[in-house]
Symmetry: C2
Subunit: 237 residues, 2 copies
C-alpha cells in the first residue's frame, strides 16, 4: 500500500500542482479542503474537480467558520483590490490575508494525518509570489513542523516524525506551471480568482488573476482557464 | 482600556479557573469555546454560565467538526472508560484524547487574537494531571508559541510578540481548586464529566470525574457541583 499523505487542496493552481507532485512521489493523496466562509465557493467546486481528475483516494471538505472573526477581504465585507498589482507584491501584508488561516488549515491536516496514520502533509505555499502573507514563509512552515512533532501521539511515542512538505516554496509561478504541465495537471479545472463571476469566470483584475496571468506568460504557455471562458468557437461566449 | 486576552473556555473546572486568573491579571477576557462534535454539549452550557458569571466582555462559540476525522472516544463511537482510574494517569495516551485538538483550538484563538489586536492567549492545560495528552505538555505549548509568533502580522511587522499563557501548567488539581476559590470561581457552574446524564449530572465514574473528586478531596473542600445534584433538601433529588 502507498504511504498516505494529507494534501491541502484549495482548488487553485498551486495546490493542484502540489497534488500532482505528491502523487508523483508515490503518496496516496488524502485531499483536504475547507468551506471557510470564503466569498468564492467556486474554489470548492474546482477542488472537487481537481480531486476527481487526480483520482485521489479521498477528498474531504471540512466546514470552519473564519467569518466568526472577520479581519480579511476574503471573509469579511472588505473590497478585494482590483485593477493592477498596485503595490510591489511582498512589501506589505495584503487585505486578502486571512488571520492565521494556514495555521488553522495545517492544524486540521495534522488531526486527519494522525487519524490516518500519515506522517506527511503537503501545502502549496509559495514564498516568492506571496511573501506578503506571514504564514507562507519558510520559517513559519518550519516552526509549524516543529510544533506538530510535539502535538500528537507520535511526539510522545517517538515514532516517525511528521513532515510538512512545501514543494512550491522556492518556485516562481512560471516554474510551478511548467512542473504541473509536465505532471499532467489540467489547469482549466483550477480557479485562482479572488472575485469570480457568476459562471465562475475569473475577474482578470485581482492580484491573484494578475499573478496567474504573469506566470503563464513567463512560462510561455496559454492559460487553459482563459481559453475556457474566451468568446468564440472554442469558448462558452 | 484593559489589555485584551483570548481565553479558551471549555466549561470545565480548569478553564473556569483560567478565566478568573486572566481577569485577576487585569485582562479583558474574550472567551472562546468550540462546538466540536463532542458528545457532551453540556460543556457549552457551562461555558456560557461561566462566561456570564465572570462578566467577560465577549464569549464566542465557534463550530468546528472534529467528528469529520474521528479517532477519539469524545468525538467518535468509542466507549468512555468508566469505573476507576484503571491505569496510572500519564503512562499512556487515553482514548479520550482528540487528535490535534489543542493545536486546532489554539489556532482559532490565534486568529481571533490577531483580529482583536490581542497578544495574549490563555489555555488551561495541566501537565500534572493530564500528561497522557501530548498537546498538554509544556514543550508543546512552547513550540506553539514559537510558531504563532511567525504566523501572523505581528511576526512580520516586528510588533509585540504573542504569548501563550498556561497558568495551570504545573499546578495540582487541588492547587487549581484552591486558587479558583480564592478568586471567587463558582465551581457549581462547571462541568468536568466526559459522559454526563440527561440533567447534566456528572457520571462520577469517568477519569475526569474521578480526577475532579480527588482534587476536591485533596483541597479539603466539598465540590459544589456534587452538592447541586445531591438528593435531599439542598439538592434537586
Amino acid at each position: 500500500m502507498s504511504r498516505r499523505a494529507v494534501v491541502l487542496l484549495s482548488g487553485g493552481l498551486d495546490s493542484a500542482t502540489v497534488v500532482a507532485i505528491a502523487r508523483a512521489q508515490g503518496y496516496a493523496v488524502h485531499a483536504l479542503s475547507f468551506r471557510y466562509g470564503q466569498r468564492h465557493g467556486v474554489e470548492l467546486a474546482c477542488a472537487a474537480l481537481v480531486a476527481h481528475a487526480s483520482a485521489v483516494p479521498e477528498h474531504r471538505i471540512v466546514d470552519i467558520d473564519l467569518r466568526a472573526f472577520g479581519g480579511s477581504a476574503l471573509t469579511a465585507d472588505i473590497d478585494v483590490p482590483k485593477g493592477s498589482v498596485t503595490r510591489p507584491i511582498g512589501d506589505e501584508i495584503p487585505v486578502t490575508y486571512v488571520p492565521a488561516r494556514n495555521t488553522i488549515f495545517l492544524s486540521f491536516a495534522l488531526a486527519w494525518a494522525e487519524v490516518l496514520g500519515a506522517t506527511d502533509i503537503f501545502i502549496g505555499v509559495n514564498a516568492l509570489d506571496y511573501s506578503g502573507y506571514p504564514d507562507c514563509r519558510p520559517e513559519f512552515i518550519a516552526a509549524f513542523e516543529a510544533m506538530a512533532r510535539l502535538a500528537t501521539r507520535a511526539g510522545v511515542e517517538g515514532s516517525e516524525p511528521l513532515r510538512i512538505h512545501a514543494p512550491l516554496q522556492e518556485m516562481s509561478k512560471a516554474q510551478i506551471i511548467r512542473k504541473g504541465l509536465e505532471l499532467g495537471v489540467d489547469y482549466a479545472l483550477t480557479s485562482s480568482c479572488y472575485d469570480p463571476g457568476v459562471q465562475c469566470e475569473p475577474c482578470g483584475a485581482c492580484d491573484s488573476c494578475l499573478l496567474r496571468a504573469r506566470g503563464f506568460a513567463h512560462a510561455g504557455v496559454p492559460d487553459p482557464l482563459v481559453a475556457r471562458f474566451a468568446p468564440g468557437p472554442g469558448g462558452h461566449g
